[in-house]
């Protein structure tokens, strides 16, 4: 096998040193009754060439038509990825390194992540960004735990039911074994978090609102901030579309205490939902409460600029059972990817692309309106919105997906039973006017 360098001679001469007759003897110290006799029931080694054919076949079962068009988002977005990113990220010095425990030979990763932290803090308007979490949902769960752990009295976190359904489920999963509770904040009929209802809730350690929310609508963070202050609860802002903050006022600007969300939009491929990029950021005040890796700038003994993993005293390998979290490996290479993406788009690109997303979404909504779709809300949105669809749409949608790999909206009923015949649509910069006109034609005809 080409990955295994040992020749027969190597094995023999090494066994002589270790004092074993055969390779099997290396395991003599393990009691016989603990050993397996069932072998490993997995087919024989595939050659690189047979692997290619097999995987091409398997991959083709996913998206038959390579000119797919996604009019769906809901936490995973189709954005353009500049060709320099896969090239740079695939350089083995980045790809095959471990977490930089030896900073002297990890400065590439370390400076790159430090720059990522800086640019993410910029994007979200926060003081501190961590080096990454698994995804938006787990980052948000960590945020909820911070509020619950740090609050003197309250043991409840209020989460808008317009936070991504999966994110709410993850918070549930994380809280179940604890003494902490999650309550959901209902929504209004204009597709926003019901802040009146929120006002009537008490003893809250944290309040979590997503904007743009799961329906794509932009929430009123100003009021949320006010309520959090009144109730002495941490304001936790979340998001699934990081690019929206190329255009929208960022949560930091509204005074959020913690901002958690998904960074997949920043140059990372959808890859069937993972790996994405969990972003977790906070105010200076939260510095020591934030779980996950942090890179800090320092100097070497000759005074040369350098970077290290820092504040490890929050982490499991030092604090063990008292750590702020159990996180160890995170999504470092995705963070590096996002860093490269942010440096590539830059100040000019991020605004232009964000605006373009909004423009396409507006054009899509208008086009659908003209063919009988009804906007569920008239609330400002970024690149996603909910439409009540004409009947017969479901079958048309499936046919489109099957024949042309066009995915037109996500049925909201499974997530919100009350929203029968409501679909969540999305348009990004990858969707052309032509695509939208084509879709509009297809769903009428």
């Amino acid at each position: 096998m080409r990955y295994l360098p040992h020749t027969k001679e190597d094995i023999e001469s090494m066994l002589q040193i270790t004092g074993h007759k055969t390779l099997e003897n290396l395991f003599d110290s393990i009691p016989q009754n603990l050993k397996t006799n069932t072998g490993i029931n997995i087919p024989d080694s595939l050659s690189e060439w047979d692997l290619n054919s097999h995987m091409i076949e398997l991959a083709s079962k996913n998206i038959p038509n390579k000119n797919y068009k996604y009019f769906i988002g809901a936490g995973s977005y189709d954005h353009y990825i500049p060709s320099i990113i896969p090239y740079l990220i695939s350089r083995s010095e980045f790809m095959t390194a471990y977490t930089p425990y030896q900073p002297e030979i990890g400065q590439g990763t370390l400076q790159g992540i430090y720059e990522f932290q800086t640019m993410v803090a910029q994007l979200l308007g926060m003081d501190i960004a961590t080096a990454s979490h698994y995804d938006g949902g787990t980052a948000l769960a960590e945020a909820a735990l911070i509020s619950l752990r740090t609050h003197k009295t309250a043991n409840t976190v209020a989460v808008s039911n317009l936070v991504h359904p999966s994110h709410r489920q993850i918070i549930q999963t994380y809280l179940r074994p604890t003494q902490f509770k999650m309550v959901q904040i209902p929504s209004t009929k204009d597709g926003k978090t019901d802040l009146k209802a929120l006002k009537s809730m008490d003893d809250l350690a944290g309040i979590c609102v997503q904007s743009p929310n799961f329906f794509g609508n932009i929430e009123d963070f100003k009021q949320v901030r006010q309520i959090c202050t009144d109730k002495n609860a941490l304001m936790i802002a979340s998001f699934t579309e990081a690019l929206s903050y190329g255009l929208l006022k960022n949560p930091g600007g509204f005074g959020a205490d913690i901002v958690a969300g998904e960074g997949q939009s920043l140059g990372i491929s959808k890859s069937f939902g993972g790996p994405g990029l969990g972003l977790l950021t906070g105010t200076q005040k939260q510095m020591r409460n934030l779980p996950g890796r942090l890179v800090g700038k320092t100097k070497d003994i000759n005074g040369k600029r350098g970077y290290v993993l820092t504040l490890a005293t929050r982490e499991q390998h030092i604090r063990r059972e008292k750590a702020t979290s159990n996180i160890c490996s995170n999504n470092g290479l995705c963070a590096m990817t996002a860093g490269i993406y942010l440096a590539t788009t830059g100040k000019i690109g991020i605004r232009k692309i964000a605006q373009l997303n909004h423009d396409k979404a507006i054009y899509l909504q208008n086009s659908l309106k003209e063919v009988g779709f009804i906007p569920a809300f008239n609330t400002p949105f970024f690149n996603e919105f909910v439409m009540k669809v004409p009947k017969g749409f479901k079958t048309k949608r499936n046919a489109l997906a099957k024949k042309q790999s066009i995915f037109a909206g996500i049925d909201l009923e499974p997530f919100y039973p009350e929203l029968k015949n409501h679909y969540l649509f999305c348009a990004t910069e990858t969707i052309s006017k032509e695509d939208i006109d084509h879709l509009a034609k297809e769903v009428t005809s």
Binding site: N62, Q117, G137, N250, T298, D300, G332
Partner: protein, 489 residues
């Protein structure tokens, strides 16, 4: 040592990315706008994030220079104990980047995701075969995430049995993520020390195991690279008191085809695909931490789960989210699919027999290093080891040389140092895991390097204390970094 791998050469300074910024530059190709601009209400629009402004070449040079400061597996031997830094095959990257996988949207629906579903389902079956368990979930995003998943299942199990427990037994050799994961489930860690020869003794467990204890977390082979020979007795003790046994399978690379945790009393186990199954670590992830369980715990697995339905003419796969006893959801979608593709490709490339060879050779390499270096470095536990061996600096201490000094000096020799100061039970631990993809030649070179450094420790300790010398930066001031944190520019 004559002709050590490490030498000095030309590298490039690189400023922080914003120092390259110049107003008006943009490195991304802006899609042309074919629809009219729609302005949002001004009250909703924010200031433009002040990101750097660069040309495409600026970006390429910046990150190319950064990459050149890094050390990866392709650069040289990377014997980081407990991390299984084996070769990451390039073909796995090709597979993961195929459009059918990389561009797949998680909400296309089962009907349009059959390739992805089949891959995940098959991978779950493979991992079940390898570990000897009944069911597997590939949803957890990393090892620690797998631990949490497993511990949540144990917690739910006790809850279901009508009586929750408050404690969990954790050996002193355990990785930090173990107690941290247990804490997230509200369990108090009860620390037990390993016995004189580095493994757990049944009596020690018996002494602490009781009806208030949810179970035990065991890493086997443990972080000293030793196999827990008493595992069966221990699991019996724990089971007898109604507890469950969590297995940390991060070190599975040592025992594939030799021992199946599912057959020796472990109830739940996580694997690190970014260790045993060759997916690149990426300088800090993404990884994947699938969890394998026996029948007892299967009902508690996270959702969604993947099931296969076979009708006479075809197989179809689908997600099911309804599962009454599930602990719930652990990941926004289905886990780190891109990582799963790589691990799946690796398993197919090795085949069942190949995986058995992997473990044999990984253990051979570790034992070879142990035998060759045990005179040079102190070996606290001189026993047959599995995938790694743990030395310490006891001998060098007498010249005022620490493990840290030796690790830094190894950089000058062109090697990535081993894991140091872990496990905590060995002070000044120097934990070497070569993995099976290192050839005898590179291992012999590593041995030479360590021997020559040990000599230097006697003859020229200063050169160790001031190491590293040829890296871009030398030892960094971590104290100030933590005392006055500067976390952004």
């Amino acid at each position: 040592m004559t002709n050590k791998p490490g030498i000095g050469g030309l590298k490039f300074n690189e400023s922080e990315v914003w120092d390259r910024s110049k107003k008006g530059r943009c490195a991304i190709s802006l899609p042309k706008s074919d629809v009219k601009e729609s302005r949002l209400d001004n009250s909703l629009i924010g200031d433009v994030p002040d990101l750097p402004q660069l040309s495409e070449l600026d970006v390429v040079r910046h990150y190319t220079h950064l990459s050149q400061w890094n050390f990866g597996i392709d650069s040289g031997m990377y014997p980081l104990g407990s991390c299984t830094m084996k070769y990451n095959p390039k073909t796995n990257e090709i597979q993961a980047n195929r459009q059918g996988f990389a561009a797949a949207h998680p909400f296309c629906g089962d009907q349009f995701s059959q390739g992805a579903l089949k891959l995940m389902h098959t991978l779950e079956t493979f991992l079940a075969h390898i570990t000897g368990f009944d069911a597997v979930t590939v949803q957890p995003a990393a090892g620690a995430h797998g631990e949490l998943t497993g511990m949540l299942m144990i917690h739910k199990y006790h809850e279901k049995n009508g009586r929750q427990r408050s404690k969990i037994i954790i050996p002193d050799t355990a990785h930090g993520t173990n107690p941290a994961s247990a804490s997230l489930c509200g369990y108090d860690s009860v620390k037990v020390s390993s016995g004189p020869n580095g493994i757990l003794e049944p009596d020690a467990i018996a002494a602490v195991m009781d009806e208030d204890t949810a179970g035990i977390m065991i890493t086997n082979p443990n972080t000293l690279g030793l196999f827990e020979n008493n595992i069966k007795k221990i699991t019996d003790i724990v089971h007898a008191k109604g507890g469950l046994v969590y297995g940390d399978g991060a070190n599975m690379n040592a025992i594939m085809g030799v021992v199946k945790p599912g057959e020796i009393g472990i109830d739940v186990l996580h694997l690190n695909l970014h260790k045993t199954f060759s997916t690149p670590h990426g300088g800090g992830g993404p990884g994947a931490g699938p969890v394998a369980v026996n029948k007892i715990l299967e009902p508690f697995l996270p959702v969604p789960r993947i099931v296969k339905e076979t009708t006479k003419d075809k197989e179809t796969y689908k997600f099911i989210t309804h599962s009454p006893d599930t602990i719930g959801r652990m990941h926004t979608f289905y886990g780190h699919f891109g990582v799963l593709v790589r691990a799946y490709s690796y398993i197919l490339s090795l085949g069942g027999k190949g995986l058995c060879d992997v473990s044999k050779l990984a253990v051979l390499n570790a034992n070879y290093i142990k035998e060759k270096l045990k005179g040079t470095l102190n070996l606290p536990y001189d026993l047959p080891c599995m995938h790694e061996c743990v030395f310490n600096d006891r001998i060098q201490k007498e010249f005022g040389i620490t493990t840290m000094d030796m690790a830094k000096r190894l950089l000058d020799y062109g090697f990535h140092p081993p894991t140091i100061y872990f496990p905590l039970v060995v002070d000044g631990a120097f934990m070497v895991e070569p993995t099976e993809t290192e050839s005898k030649e590179s291992i012999d070179q590593f041995i030479d390097a360590v021997e020559s450094i040990a000599k230097e420790a006697k003859t020229n300790p200063e050169i160790l204390k001031s190491a590293p010398h040829i890296t871009k930066v030398t030892r960094l001031d971590e104290v100030t970094a933590a005392r006055k944190p500067c976390l952004k520019g």
